[in-house]
């Protein structure tokens, strides 16, 4: 009987230990990671990371609702992993680490790369030009990237009859994607928010000490 109890305790504790090990320990280790001060590429000093606000935060919700995560990951792996291709492909300049994600609820690491990683997509499509590209790409992926397997998110846009001046934010669509004359395609607030999110999506803003390899 005594030996059995010891054995029992042993086995049960090992089992509960996975709990401690895989949920509780990381919790203790990582739950209190804080933002730190650093310098961006442009030489600006700021706290990093910062929680998303306003339109970008709303854009993240659009991203979640439409399951972009199921084709796009948001993590850059080490230069010693998988031939370092994540960085060599210019998806990021350094690997991402725990601190990069502390404000993300829910976190969107992703498990599939049907499309490219988006952890730092703002670096590739920046400024107004980048935003315009993103709008066109979301509306008509195959216009921007022939053969793309990304679905069109045209439902985030609105087709309107042009009354008076064409809107400033109407998409500059060409060929088969252009609406019939007299009409224009404009982004809904959801599309604007989503593109705003993509244009600030940058997990490599600051070189973190712990990400150095």
């Amino acid at each position: 009987m005594d030996r059995t109890v010891t054995l029992l305790l042993g086995i049960t504790l090992t089992f509960a230990s996975s709990w401690l090990g895989l949920v509780f320990a990381p919790y203790v280790q990582m739950n209190n990671v804080q933002p730190i001060k650093g310098t961006t590429d442009d030489g600006v000093e700021e706290m990093y990371p910062r929680p998303l606000e306003g339109e970008a935060a709303y854009g993240r919700e659009v991203y979640i609702a439409n399951g972009c995560m199921y084709c796009h990951s948001q993590q850059i792996r080490s230069e010693h992993f998988g031939n370092g291709a994540d960085i060599k492909r210019n998806w990021g300049v350094r690997r991402t680490v725990q601190r990069d994600y502390i404000y993300e609820k829910p976190i969107l690491l992703g498990t599939m790369r049907t499309g490219p990683d988006l952890a730092n997509v703002a670096r590739r499509w920046s400024g107004q030009g980048g935003k315009d590209w993103n709008h066109l790409h979301l509306y008509a992926p195959r216009m921007m990237m022939p053969g793309s397997l990304m679905p069109s998110f045209a439902f985030l846009y609105e087709k309107r009859r042009i009354t008076g001046e064409p809107s400033a934010d109407a998409l500059k669509l060409q060929g088969e994607w252009a609406p019939e004359p007299g009409y224009e395609i404009v982004p809904t607030p959801q599309a604007k928010a989503l593109v705003e999110y993509l244009s600030v999506l940058d997990h490599n803003r600051i070189m973190l000490p712990e990400a150095q390899e």
Binding site: M1, A16, Y27, N31
Partner: protein, 78 residues
């Protein structure tokens, strides 16, 4: 607050479920579940469906097949 919830969930479930698991295993040892394997393995059979009796077949198979365990007996489509 969020901290508290997580701690409570984690510790609470370890106590609760861990405790239950300990009880379950203690019981199973005391109860002799780790002995007498021969009998245990036969506990799913009974007089009506004894060892040696085949208990499933396609509905269109000849009835004879439901009784005795032999694979050479019939030869229908599969």
């Amino acid at each position: 607050m969020a901290d508290f919830i997580v701690y409570a969930t984690v510790l609470g479930s370890i106590v609760f479920f861990g405790g239950a698991a300990i009880l379950a295993m203690a019981w199973s040892f005391r109860n002799g579940q780790f002995e007498n394997f021969h009998k245990s393995s036969r506990s799913i059979f009974d007089a009506d469906e004894p060892v040696g009796r085949v208990t499933d077949r396609f509905p269109d198979a000849p009835r004879s097949h439901g009784t005795k365990n032999s694979s050479s007996e019939a030869s229908h489509r599969s």
